[in-house]
């Protein structure tokens, strides 16, 4: 018997494979015949899985943190005792905007996600109502990025966060957040 935990491990393993392929595809030589072959193999896999809808595994599908979602880096967000939410991540080519740098929209996505986590109640993320992002300096690909956020003033639902590289803030953000819906 295949437990739900091992099903989730399978799903996460496929998502990890898709992430590697997404990355590889951007590094394959333009003269390589590989992609033509791969396209056919993917079609076969897609056909195999299609029309198999059913109950989904929960908590693995988020586009920022979901280990089962190939779009997600994925961010592994931890909430500290003081309520600070943080994640450490390295981003590769699929997240590139300007050459060798993280796409500004990806930085906004990650900050939005961590700010929302900083306002979470019983594990449910807060609703971000307004998000303001400032780009101070370029954020490099392939570097260890530290993303963190904390509620500045719980009474007015305000949170702030940063992306830091080697102790230097590259992007900062502020958000108005509301408690998670019931």
């Amino acid at each position: 018997m295949h437990s739900n935990n091992s099903k989730q491990a399978d799903l996460e393993s496929v998502a990890a494979g898709l992430r590697r392929l997404t990355d590889l595809l951007l590094r394959v030589d333009a003269d390589d015949p590989g992609p033509a072959t791969v396209a056919d193999e993917l079609d076969t896999i897609v056909a195999m899985l299609e029309n198999r809808g059913g109950p989904r595994l929960s908590g693995v599908e988020d586009p920022a943190s979901g280990r089962g979602n190939a779009l997600a880096p994925p961010l592994d967000v931890e909430i500290g005792d003081d309520g600070t939410a943080s994640a450490t991540v390295h981003l590769g080519l699929p997240y590139q905007g300007p050459k060798a740098l993280v796409h500004g929209g990806i930085s906004a996505l990650m900050l939005s996600h961590v700010l929302s986590a900083a306002g979470s109640v019983d594990g449910e993320p807060a609703v971000v109502q307004e998000l303001a992002v400032r780009y101070h300096r370029p954020t490099p690909l392939f570097a260890e990025l530290h993303i963190s956020a904390a509620r500045a003033d719980p009474a007015v639902g305000h949170a702030q966060g940063t992306i830091d590289v080697g102790g230097v803030t590259t992007v900062s953000a502020q958000a108005q957040i509301a408690p998670p819906p019931h």
Copy 2:
């Protein structure tokens, strides 16, 4: 002989396959034995493509608009005669935040991208220095989203944009932008 154009078509075809798989994976029944098999097949494909680095095809790798990047929806941004940048897109499960709704960070990513395009010079996107996003109402998955942006005042490098669904604005954004670097 395989032309560069058909190479790009192969690459885009693989990325499209990865997008379908990423989506399917979030809809497969939790009791399905499929993912375990797929994980092995992906490992084989990854092994085939690995260590084949080389010159890359350009303009297809962007995480918002790149047709060769499986992360990208992809946004197909058009610049109108009046300088307005716009894209129409439908988003599926991989872009979900709250149930049946687009993740707020994904909205920020798309707006950031289209605002940057609105400030482009000779096809080179502008640099976004500050991005402010307001979430007015939920943005649904599976709906036709219209994302557009225009420079409000070129002299001060200010641009504004919206995401609209059925003529109603769900998210709006303002950005300070700088001309693209030379």
